[in-house]
Symmetry: C2
Subunit: 115 residues, 2 copies
């Protein structure tokens, strides 16, 4: 099965997880398609200055794969600059947030796999 | 935890799964890191003309997320052209292959999640 991101309508979310501004999310695969083993496989777009706020994962882990742009990733207590090609891994019991600190859109894949 | 693809050494694989030429694979996260819920999270690079040959998945599903370039994806019996932004989903019991049919490198993320 092929899913083309360009054919899907992004969902616009304000203050996602208590973050700043408005972000765009495109759900590329449903959890049903992924046999409920993963509950998110989405492409995220954060305009400059926007963010996904700090939140914790329990019973699951999340992977961000940075596609383009630059940002600051809050990695369970540490702030780490990230850019295209970087992988941000947040384990169960850990917290994270991400903010676009650059001048271009920050785009990444977000994947949540259940334990 | 942050993993930077640029700091990892790619593995070079000839005739992967019976495919053509040599491909590069960078393992971004180990299956141990992913609690054995997923067994592959890798960035693949296929030079023009190279391919990953036809193979079947059982007891797991695989997702390709196309990052750059163009190729032909064999989707369990159908050939479908793919390009950056496309998602190729291969369910348990299905077969797939992918070939770089363009002039630039074909790069994609490959994620295998266990059932």
């Amino acid at each position: 099965m092929i899913v083309r991101a360009s054919e899907l309508t992004p969902e616009r979310i304000s203050n996602m997880r208590g973050g700043k501004g408005e972000v765009e999310m495109v759900h590329l695969l449903s959890k049903e398609t992924m046999h409920n083993k993963a509950r998110l496989f989405a492409r995220m777009k954060l305009p400059p200055g926007s963010s996904v706020g700090l939140h914790k994962h329990e019973g699951e882990f999340e992977i961000y794969y940075i596609l383009s742009g630059e940002g600051m990733f809050h990695d369970n207590g540490k702030d780490i600059p990230v850019k295209a090609g970087d992988v941000c891994f947040t384990d169960s019991g850990e917290s994270h947030s991400i903010e676009n600190t650059g001048d271009e859109n920050l785009e990444f894949l977000a994947v949540i796999i259940l334990l």
